[in-house]
């Protein structure tokens, strides 16, 4: 069960990567990438799970052209994290390429060719740092060998720089392009002879490298999901089941078909209950020559629905029941010591309940996708997808096609945050293109996006913390209850999975002698998915606002309290305490230990950099929280004040982060800057609620995200220097921010925050 969540992949290609020169046949298959050039592949999966050899399959490429261009393939999806720049940049750095001469090409979705492309779980850099370095270093060695041959010198006398090979101590140099011919007949060097650069030798890694697409974006030339035009393309706008599980009983499409531009109306059969993570909802699609006609056509449809069992669902009522359930004994997921005895001998017991709502992703680009089903039984897709391989498989399944018949091109994503992992919208377009015998763009409206998302689950939590007479924290009992992601595919899943619990709950890291983590049942009545940092959102909110109360009860400063509760520097293992194994985000603890010393360092750093102890300005208040997620250590300080109108403002935020080697430091900073903004919306403005099984909010008027005037003003990101393995930064900024903000608001107002979103 542990790894049913698609973003928690165990696959670690680092051990399996192998570098090769593709055969002539493979070279020709992809020759559009490198006409007449040289190509280098990296095979991430040269062995199957049991070590058996699998079919030869090239994947990530470096190619060099004779006109001195370096072409690098980006195989992960760009949704704003900068990964389309950061991974190729690693290869280019090892290679010694001139970044200005690098061209980046986006890979289509193909697991055999490119290995794992599931851009999720903040693991792109973590997973591909080593393979990218090896690929770049191998190409460098080959270029050096070729040049050394040509000059009759030893390869050790040569280096690369700015897309040239240089002979040390002389003025001899040759462009990469001038060596391409020689490379074509060259043998691969022995992998054992490939030497990776030292950190100090890198020119790009550890610096601020601008994103590759910046110019295209600011001039309106970048291609997103809806931006591909095909001849005779029809635009589809779909009336989807207003309640998950609803079925169409009958419909009248006469008025829709009468609208100029509307060509046809096509029914899409939905999965019903459970709705599934990769299936469309039941719906009626209006196809037209333009989006406006399709939208008007949809408004003119008359549909009689059987709303099904979710039609009486109220999220408010369920949340109350969930909160009530935490008063009983639940299913124990972690047990250390004996919480009950800690409680019976406690001199102080803090017993608090925390509520958090459903959230929608609300990517600025609502789902939009193009499918072209052709007469030969193949289909080509252009999609803003985080997971092109899942999309490919889902389309093949829905259309009954063999995988090779489905081609998924990945456009830029106008935001992802987990929404665009799910291929439901891609399947819609493929089904409609087949039925309409024409290329189809499916265009979701904002209302569609708000009404039919895979929501971050609402949650109720109860934490009981016990202190003894010496103000020592002796017991921690955390009840968490929320409809599970797994329930979207299997309605019988009533408890969160261990994977979800290890997103900030049962991996509770503090040195407390008695710990019990419990879950309770709750059923899903909508589609549950994952949103940037997933269950860490609500878990970190509850845990770290409680930590602030504990610090207060202990008479300690919150920073001192946290440092004290981490105790001695050590590696945590959770051994013997968990039901099942510790997942560690799919990585072995030997490779990525949970080290309390690293956590304490980011806490000390943020306290120093934010001048934590000195904040005594009138009208201002500071809050603190520290939370490790996705293997990245983060501490956060938020400063709040009330303006002249009594409105809360957030003048300053400090983050200290240990993500191992910082690859593209500008994109690390930008993820934290954006993460603070994203988390401010979760904390203060956004909530999805259901009445009669239907989402109450419609658009950005009722599902609000923060705007520039309300946003945190100065966001300082302090990246700790590190030589440890790099870890991701897409999600880790979100979890600690919300409790840090809530703790600051408490200091300012004297009122504790127990429910999201909160108003001041």
């Amino acid at each position: 069960m542990k790894n049913f969540i698609p973003f928690l992949k165990n696959k670690n290609p680092e051990d399996q990567s192998k570098i090769f020169v593709p055969s002539r046949r493979d070279f020709l298959k992809i020759s559009s990438l490198a006409t007449g050039g040289f190509l280098l592949g990296v095979n991430f999966q040269c062995a199957g799970p049991k070590g058996e050899p699998i079919t030869f399959a090239p994947n990530v490429y470096i190619s060099l052209s004779s006109d001195n261009e370096v072409i690098l393939v980006a195989h992960r999806s760009e949704m704003g994290t900068g990964i389309r720049t950061s991974l190729p940049m690693i290869m280019a750095d090892e290679l010694g390429a001139d970044w200005k001469k690098v061209k980046i090409i986006q890979a289509e979705g193909d697991e055999d060719k490119y290995g794992n492309q599931n851009t999720d779980g903040s693991f792109s850099v973590r997973m591909f740092y080593e393979p990218m370095r090896k690929a770049g270093a191998t190409a460098r060695q080959m270029l050096i060998n070729a040049a050394a041959n040509k000059w009759g010198v030893d390869p050790s006398e040569c280096t690369t720089e700015n897309s040239q090979v240089l002979l040390n101590g002389s003025s001899k140099k040759v462009d990469f392009g001038g060596l391409v011919e020689a490379l074509q007949t060259m043998e691969l060097p022995d992998p054992a002879t490939i030497k990776l650069k030292e950190l100090s030798e890198y020119k790009f890694i550890g610096t601020d490298v601008p994103i590759y697409d910046a110019k295209a974006i600011v001039s309106g030339q970048a291609t997103f999901g809806a931006d591909v035009d095909l001849p005779n393309m029809q635009i589809a706008v779909i009336a989807r089941s207003p309640v998950v599980g609803a079925k169409i009983l009958s419909y009248d499409d006469a008025a829709a078909l009468a609208i100029p531009g509307v060509s046809q109306v096509i029914k899409i059969e939905g999965a019903g209950i459970p709705p599934g993570l990769d299936k469309p909802l039941e719906g009626l699609a209006v196809l037209a020559s333009n989006t406006w006609a399709a939208k008007k056509g949809r408004e003119a449809l008359v549909i009689e629905w059987d709303l099904g069992p979710n039609q009486s669902y109220s999220s408010a009522a369920q949340l109350q029941e969930m909160a009530k359930s935490t008063l009983k004994n639940g299913k124990v997921s972690r047990e250390r010591g004996n919480f009950n005895s800690a409680k019976s001998s406690a001199t102080k017991v803090l017993d608090r309940t925390y509520l958090a709502p459903y959230y929608a992703h609300a990517t600025m680009e609502p789902p939009a996708v193009i499918a072209d089903y052709r007469g030969d039984g193949s289909v080509e897709i252009w999609a803003p997808t985080q997971h092109p391989q899942w999309a490919r498989g889902a389309v093949a399944g829905a259309l009954g096609l063999e995988l090779p018949k489905v081609k998924v091109n990945v456009t830029l994503l106008g935001g992802g945050f987990g929404r665009k992992s799910k291929p439901d919208f891609v399947v819609e377009a493929a089904l409609l293109s087949k039925a309409a015998k024409a290329p189809v763009r499916v265009q979701w409206t904002r209302e569609d996006d708000i009404h039919h998302d895979f929501y971050h689950s609402h949650s109720a939590q109860r934490i009981v913390a016990t202190l003894d007479s010496s103000k020592k924290l002796t017991g921690w009992n955390h009840h968490t209850v929320f409809p599970a992601i797994g329930a979207t595919g299997n309605a019988a899943e009533l408890h969160p999975s261990s994977g979800e619990l290890e997103l900030g709950c049962r991996d509770f890291p503090y040195d407390v002698p008695n710990i019990r983590i419990e879950t309770h049942e709750s059923a899903a009545h909508t589609r549950i998915g994952w949103l940037r940092s997933v269950s860490n959102i609500h878990h970190a909110f509850a845990i770290h606002t409680m930590m602030d109360e504990i610090a207060e009860a202990r008479g300690l400063d919150p920073v001192e309290n946290a440092l004290d509760l981490f105790g001695e520097d050590k590696n945590l293992t959770f051994e013997g305490e968990l039901e099942g194994d510790f997942g560690n985000y799919g990585e072995k603890l030997e490779d990525f230990p949970w080290n309390t010393g690293r956590m304490k360092k980011v806490i000390q750093d943020v306290a120093a950099k934010s001048n934590w102890k000195a904040h005594k300005d009138a009208g201002k208040a500071v809050g603190f929280a520290a939370h490790k997620s996705f293997l990245t250590y983060v501490a956060c300080v938020v400063i709040v004040e009330k303006d002249a109108n009594g409105q809360l403002s957030i003048p300053e935020v400090h983050y200290s982060v240990d993500c191992g080697v910082g690859v593209n430091t500008d994109r690390i900073k930008s993820q934290f800057e954006g993460g603070a903004q994203f988390a401010t919306s979760l904390a203060m403005t956004s909530a999805i609620t259901f009445e009669n099984g239907q989402v109450v909010q419609n658009n950005f008027d009722s599902y609000q995200i923060i705007r520039m005037p309300q946003s945190p003003k100065k966001i300082h990101v302090h990246i700790l220097p590190s030589t440890e393995k790099p870890t991701g930064v897409g999600e880790p900024p979100v979890p600690p921010y919300i409790p840090a903000l809530a703790n600051a608001v408490y200091k300012l107002t004297g009122k504790r925050i127990y429910e999201l979103p909160f108003k001041v």
């Binding site: 760009e78 949704m79 704003g80 994290t81 900068g82 601020d208 601008p210 994103i211 697409d213 910046a214 110019k215 974006i217 600011v218 001039s219 309106g220 030339q221 997103f224 809806a226 035009d229 100029p260 531009g261 020559s289 333009n290 989006t291 406006w292 006609a293 008007k296 609300a362 990517t363 600025m364 680009e365 609502p366 939009a368 830029l412 994503l413 106008g414 935001g415 992802g416 945050f417 409206t445 904002r446 500008d666 930008s670 993820q671 800057e673 954006g674 603070a676 903004q677 994203f678 658009n699 950005f700 008027d701 705007r707 520039m708 005037p709 946003s711 945190p712 003003k713 100065k714 966001i715």
Partner: protein
């Protein structure tokens, strides 16, 4: 369907559309100009911002029948080579994350600087309030506008 002749980025273009079709879809679907983005359809997010006679307008809520003789400028036509001071400042500050809202952000900012070349921080915030960014690039947007303002 009606015939309309509109001026986009200095070019006169003829289109056939229903009178209530928003300019956004005229640009995107009928003229295949994809730089202007759809975000909400209700003038709540600003992703679709273009200029109508120099004023920032939300093209998702402007019916084609109301465009008349107005001169429309889109992100593709803001500058000839993508070198408007704002576009250059946007690159310098590496503002975009996903990039989807940025065309609309730049168009709103360009209209602001055209009438108020030296806006205060508060004036920038007020002018940009209608443009949402889910990635959270607000601070860099502000810095880029301030840089462009200095370079005008």
């Amino acid at each position: 369907m009606e015939e309309y002749s509109i001026t986009v980025n200095g070019k006169k273009l003829d289109v056939q559309a229903l009178p209530d079709m928003p300019l956004l879809w005229v640009l995107r679907d009928l003229l295949s100009m994809k730089g202007t983005k759809f975000g909400c359809g209700q003038a709540l997010c600003g992703a679709c911002t273009v200029h109508l006679d120099g004023q920032a307008v939300r093209s998702c809520s402007l019916p084609i029948s109301e465009v008349g003789d107005g001169k429309i400028t889109t992100i593709e036509g803001l500058s000839e080579k993508g070198d408007h001071p704002l576009q250059e400042a946007w690159v310098e500050h590496i503002v975009p994350q996903c990039g989807y809202c940025q065309g609309g952000q730049i168009m709103t900012a360009a209209a602001l600087l055209a009438t108020n070349p030296k806006p205060s921080e508060e004036e920038i915030e007020r002018a940009m309030e209608g443009n949402l960014c889910r990635c959270g690039t607000y601070n860099r947007i502000k810095e880029a506008i301030q840089t462009a303002s200095r370079n005008l």
